[in-house]
Symmetry: C2
Subunit: 397 residues, 2 copies
């Protein structure tokens, strides 16, 4: 019997308890031993809950109990998650988490701390919710140089963009609707400004390069300035606007970027709608691959956390190889990446052509909208300087 | 330095050598040790090949060399692959293969043989070529009861169906073209009759249920009787015909089937065209997930084989848990599955309505074509008995 503690009895934490309960038989068979939740740490009481008697309010009870082999963290945020994680590992316990903020900031520290002690620190659910991506990157795509990893990594914004496309609504209406449905938080900043996707692409990029990508180094643009008008243009062009987090190998460096893109139907990410997430990976031998599924939600995310717990039980006395050191990975300037740009401006077609040369005009009613040839970010910046009336530019792919 | 032997210097075998050569640096870093090909077993000579001096013709040289830690089999077929695999493992060597015929027939025997000796027998490339699916099923989706696994598992037939859809050509023309391009073999039977997809879904189903599914128990229908007329109907209905291999959990059993389907655009497999493969998985907690990529081809497949080799190097002294025993899994009768059917018949609309009740007619020119309501296979068989002129029926989803 493996005893575990769950930190946080919110959405994910209660999901972990539910998955372990509902799939007890098959999980026991796959892990080789029964897994039982001994403690649930939460500040609140849960009178009447079937796990009421497991609730504790003092982390020290968990840390100091030698019966607890695995600590599962599902509280979110950097603190006290980080302190709890460190203390769990220092006390000889394995650690599993769904917390991307924790892993984006302290991943290499916790991994090293665990590996020194033949323990495991796993975090499959921190990126892509239920979609297996961390473990495939770590143990399946090991024969490849990963040239690109691009994904729809945030379900909230993808749901909002899908709604704006299907309903023709404005951003604020869709946000209100998403909040009402529980798809967006009361403070939606981390999602809509791209900070959540940024942390996730930092984690993925760190894993493929083996060093630490500081998420603060990644140019990040959210979707909060996308309007119904932009969506109308996208639809007229047969495209969809989606928030894409990308990393590209450029020489010995990687180049990362989070921004809305106008996706062509030929893009494998074009068909990924609603709260679904998908991660596209290009390997130099493998070619194109894609992983698709529920990027969030209680049970899908909890399923990924429990899979980590099963993997830990299977690797009780040995660290699963995870190559992510604290050495900093310098990112290349993402302006080296080449794209076509969709641009809306108050300038005349003549001014546009003076600045950009021959372009494809999309509209000249009320405002001028056009598509540039493929160019890097430096050239785009330089040419855009000739358009004082520029309203919006969105990269295309 | 890890020394390996590659059995077979054909497409996949030479791909394995190429991947190890081209990505030497990153593979060494990920495996923790350099991996070197000491022998290549092939009946042929390869004068002028950079690996000419590694070619051997006698398997005994490999089997008896204690320096060889891993035997990679890339010959295909049941024999001598099975004898070589057994002998490698009995000689204390780990084993990796891309051979689905070998694994579909001897998987549980080889896995057990390896596990008794703390060795590994891995076969990621046997299903889905370069797409990671065996390892994700085995180590990522462990918290779920898998309710469905459905896939486009054969690149040759998917290429052919895509070509027939895009070009409007007949089956025989497209087959000739696929053979000329190297996408279909001189004897295409295993692909076009669904035998290849059948072995692959047998492997996947065995892995999710932990017992052995005999591929000969799986009702298998290929694409050789799909005509340009069928494709025309599909296109008119906004659908695509694809060869789908599926397994569904029905009570305590699984129910498997390989057959062409008319896929609606809402199906996640609808957009998977050309030589690409995709595997859709539905877990009771995870919900829907999909894995997409190059299902065949030299380098993608070799990339998956080399990933197995890296995983073996990381697990030199421990068996990676693989739950697949020799105990036979009885399959449920796939007629219990419910579908709509698309039917073409020489019978009149009146006869059709007498047999099927109210249906949706698609055509009544020259022949009658219609879509049935959702029904199980028993009902469909019983009702079809009333249509002596039936030309074709294809399941829809």
């Amino acid at each position: 019997m493996i005893k575990i503690a769950v930190l946080g009895y919110g959405t994910i934490g209660s999901g972990v308890v539910e998955v372990l309960e509902k799939n007890r038989g098959i999980i026991t068979r796959r892990a080789g031993e029964e897994i039982s939740v001994k403690y649930i740490l939460d500040l609140r009481e849960f009178p009447g809950d079937p796990y009421e008697d497991r609730i504790v309010h003092d982390y020290e009870i968990i840390r100091s109990d030698p019966e607890i082999m695995i600590v599962v963290e599902a509280m979110g945020g950097e603190e006290p998650a980080h302190t709890f994680a460190r203390n769990a590992i220092l006390a000889g316990k394995h650690f599993a988490t769904s917390n991307k903020a924790l892993i984006a900031k302290y991943g290499p520290e916790l991994i090293a701390l665990a590996q020194e002690r033949s323990l495991n620190c796993l975090f499959e659910a921190s990126v892509g919710g239920g979609i297996p991506i961390i473990r495939p990157l770590n143990s399946c795509l090991t024969a490849d140089v990963i040239e690109e990893i691009s994904g729809i990594l945030n379900g909230t914004t993808n749901y909002m963009m899908t709604e704006m496309t299907e309903e023709g609504s404005e951003f604020v209406e869709v946000l209100k609707d998403a909040q009402a449905k529980g798809f967006a938080e009361a403070d939606p900043t981390a999602d809509i400004e791209g900070y959540d996707a940024c942390r996730k692409i930092a984690i993925l990029t760190s894993l493929i390069c083996g060093k630490t990508v500081d998420y603060e180094d990644i140019p990040t643009e959210g979707i909060s300035n996308i309007t119904a008008t932009d969506i109308k243009y996208a639809t007229a062009l047969g495209r969809k606007i989606k928030l894409i987090a990308s990393s590209f190998k450029v020489g010995d460096k990687y180049c990362a970027l989070v921004a809305p893109f106008l996706l062509a139907p030929s893009s494998p990410l074009h068909g990924v709608d609603g709260v679904f997430n998908a991660i596209f990976v290009k390997g130099n031998m493998l070619g194109d691959a894609m992983f698709y599924g529920s990027g969030a939600g209680k049970l899908p995310t909890a399923s990924a956390v429990v899979a980590d717990v099963v993997d830990i039980v299977r690797h009780k006395n040995v660290s699963i190889t995870l190559q992510w050191t604290a050495e900093k990975m310098e990112l290349a300037d993402c302006r080296c990446l080449k794209y076509q740009y969709f641009v809306r401006t108050a300038d005349s077609a003549k001014t546009v052509e003076e600045a950009f040369g021959p372009v494809t005009f999309v509209s000249s009613e009320g405002e001028t909208a056009f598509i540039t040839p493929v160019m890097d970010g430096y050239e785009f910046e330089a040419r855009s300087a000739g358009l004082p009336g520029i309203i919006k530019s969105i990269r295309m792919r």
